[in-house]
């Protein structure tokens, strides 16, 4: 038994109307997101109150109550309720270069400036001729940087032993080398782990599982003490090179598992379509599989990069003076000793690490959004 007439035929098109007032706009957003219920309103008010209580104190500590300039400790020792930025300013050169000879520090400046320019070129997605940027960054720049930092008697640049390298520039060097080498090595390991050749697969599995199963500090000590034992004395790797190898190996194992996740989430049809078109394995991998797999795991890869950047602070256990170690040394300087010095130093170090890691996270989010926009 039908409750309405059985037949119906539309006579005219239903007109298009704008949405009701309260479903869009700023007020609607606030209502929907901040005050949607009593509980939600309480949480909103609580958070705002906490921020209103804490933020002004923190800002005052870091700005109005801080000591911005002083030549030594006493000024800071008298003002104990503010940061002592004068200390950071006084130690700035040491924090940047470690014990790198003062007369030669311009070389580090040049390497950093060129590196920054090339990285911007590479990361700017619409930049012209990125292939050239990549060639310069991955081939020309490492050679140039090595010659400049290490020195060359041929060019009349005094040799600076890596024992003297330190500070921010060593932290950045470690991070860049770790990132640049661990991703390709991780991709190779991930492909190796899925290889149909048992020998390749076993080698990859053993490497990945062994490295993942050991703490980073163990890997660092092993790289530091075992590498020289395995290699002839003339090839004994440099004191800085050993922890760099350690960080690349460690990060590559995690990267490999991240990339493997991306490879596994690809549809079999993609492989089949590539094979059916006659693409051989290297071309299929480079042109079809990796571009998709890597795009899928950008968040995980960047997560690894961020972890790697943090882990660079551990190279100090094998005697490398990275930025954090330089900060530790600076804090111990009796000229500046005082109650606010340690807080100031570590807050500054925290801001430094946060700035770089947050930059990486934001850039990756931007890349994801850009790629998503193009394809959907």
């Amino acid at each position: 038994m039908s409750l309405e007439p059985v037949a119906y035929v539309r006579a005219a098109r239903e007109p298009e109307e704008p949405p009701p007032m309260l479903s869009s706009g700023a007020i609607a957003w606030v209502r929907a997101n901040l005050f949607s219920s009593i509980g939600s309103s309480l949480v909103t008010i609580g958070c705002v109150a906490l921020a209103a209580y804490l933020l002004p104190q923190l800002v005052a500590w870091a700005t109005t109550r801080a000591i911005w300039s002083a030549s030594d400790g006493p000024a800071c020792r008298q003002h104990q309720d503010g940061a002592c930025w004068a200390f950071v300013a006084a130690k700035w050169d040491y924090l940047r270069f470690g014990s790198y000879p003062v007369a030669e520090r311009w070389r580090v400046d040049v390497v950093e400036a060129i590196g920054a320019a090339l990285i911007v070129w590479l990361l700017w997605m619409n930049a012209p001729r990125r292939a050239w940027g990549a060639l310069l960054f991955f081939v020309v720049y490492p050679i140039l940087a090595f010659i400049l930092l290490r020195g060359s008697s041929l060019l009349g640049l005094p040799i600076v032993d890596t024992l003297l390298w330190g500070g921010i520039f060593v932290s950045l060097l470690t991070a860049v080398i770790g990132i640049v080498f661990s991703l390709p090595l991780g991709v190779l390991l991930a492909l190796g782990r899925r290889s149909p050749l048992p020998a390749v697969r076993m080698a990859s599995v053993v490497f990945i599982e062994f490295v993942r199963g050991a703490p980073f500090i163990t890997i660092l000590f092993m790289a530091n003490n075992l590498l020289p034992l395995f290699l002839p004395e003339a090839w004994a790797p440099d004191r800085l090179l050993r922890p760099l190898a350690g960080i690349v190996i460690f990060s590559a194992a995690y990267m490999a598992e991240e990339v493997r996740g991306g490879l596994q989430s690809l549809n079999r049809g993609q492989y089949e379509a590539a094979m059916a078109l006659g693409l051989n394995y290297p071309r299929m991998t480079a042109l079809i599989i990796l571009p998709q797999a890597l795009t899928l795991v950008i968040p995980g890869i960047v997560n690894n990069f961020i972890g790697l950047f943090m882990d660079t602070t551990l190279v100090s256990v094998v005697g490398v003076t990275d930025f954090l170690e330089a900060m530790n040394n600076a804090i111990k300087d009796p000229v500046w000793a005082g109650p606010t010095i340690m807080t100031t130093g570590y807050v500054f170090a925290g801001i430094f690490y946060f700035a770089f890691c947050d930059g990486m996270a934001r850039y990756s989010a931007h890349v994801e959004r850009t790629l998503a926009k193009g394809r959907r």
Binding site: N267, G269, Q270, E272, A273, A274, M275, A276, L277, G278, L279, N280, R283, L287, I288, P291, Q292, T295, G374, R375, R376
Partner: protein, 255 residues
């Protein structure tokens, strides 16, 4: 049928020659003693119940699946484990899949030019010219710079056909090309395939579209439980099926 003359070479009149082919998935005997010769320019429609082995059969032609016994000769090249021969065959055999399998990270145009550039070593400009011509032929030139995810199913499948044609293949394989499409998009894909058949392309098509089979096929091959049960020209195949299993199958799909 039943043609087992060995000694296939480039001068072979056959485009594809299956001789006593067997295939197993583990211990499951999925293809049993397949003998089939596809002539150059011939259009074959393969049909059969799901799980009968019809997709496996055409996937053996470009070695997406390997066979364990018997021989498959494609365009004069016998398929073995030799990767060079497999590549040689794949260059000459285009394939269209049920789920399109377009590369989602590339535009439609890039999907089409990829293989000509990297496999045929064609200059980029020539490859784009070729792709433009073929995209116009399948009537989606206006979508050339979009990504596959922005296209309808029918458009994606036509793009996939254009992509395969860009390798100027001698043989085209279609693996249920309309099965994943919404009903209103089936016709545009079938029309494209019909036009291709009229140009004389050698085609092996796995499909349930019996109207297409009637109109386009030279022969219809019915496969059931891993074996070829009946082969005939479309008219006698549909109007006077001989084998009991063929009759049962046709009665089920034609209502």
């Amino acid at each position: 049928m039943g043609d087992s003359s060995a000694g296939a070479d480039r001068g072979d009149a056959a485009a594809i020659r299956f001789t006593n082919v067997h295939k197993w998935y583990g211990s499951f005997h999925v293809l049993r003693n397949i003998n089939l010769t596809v002539g150059r320019g011939e259009r074959i429609v393969v049909c059969g119940p799901s799980g009968s082995g019809k997709s496996t059969l055409i996937r053996c032609v470009n070695r997406l699946e390997d066979h364990q016994r018997g021989s498959i000769v494609v365009d004069g090249v016998e398929l073995t484990d030799d990767i060079k021969r497999i590549d040689e065959v794949r260059r000459e055999v285009g394939m269209v899949f049920q789920n399109f399998n377009l590369f989602p990270h590339l535009t439609v145009l890039e999907n089409c030019t990829l293989a000509p550039i990297w496999v045929r070593k064609m200059p980029k400009r020539d490859a784009e010219e070729l792709a433009t011509r073929l995209l116009a032929q399948v009537k989606i030139l206006d979508q050339a710079n979009k990504y596959p995810g922005q296209l309808s199913g029918g458009q994606q499948q036509r793009a996939a056909i254009a992509r395969a044609l860009c390798m100027t293949p001698k043989i085209m394989l279609f693996d249920e090309p309309t099965s994943a499409l919404d009903p209103e998009m089936v016709k545009e894909v079938l029309d494209t395939m019909t036009a291709l058949a009229q140009e004389g392309m050698t085609m092996v098509v796995v499909t349930h579209e019996m109207g297409f089979a009637r109109q386009v096929a030279d022969r219809v091959v019915f496969i059931d439980r891993g074996e070829i049960v009946e082969v005939n020209a479309p008219l006698p195949f549909f109007d006077h099926p001989q084998h009991e299993r063929t009759r049962l199958f046709l009665s089920q799909i034609l209502h």
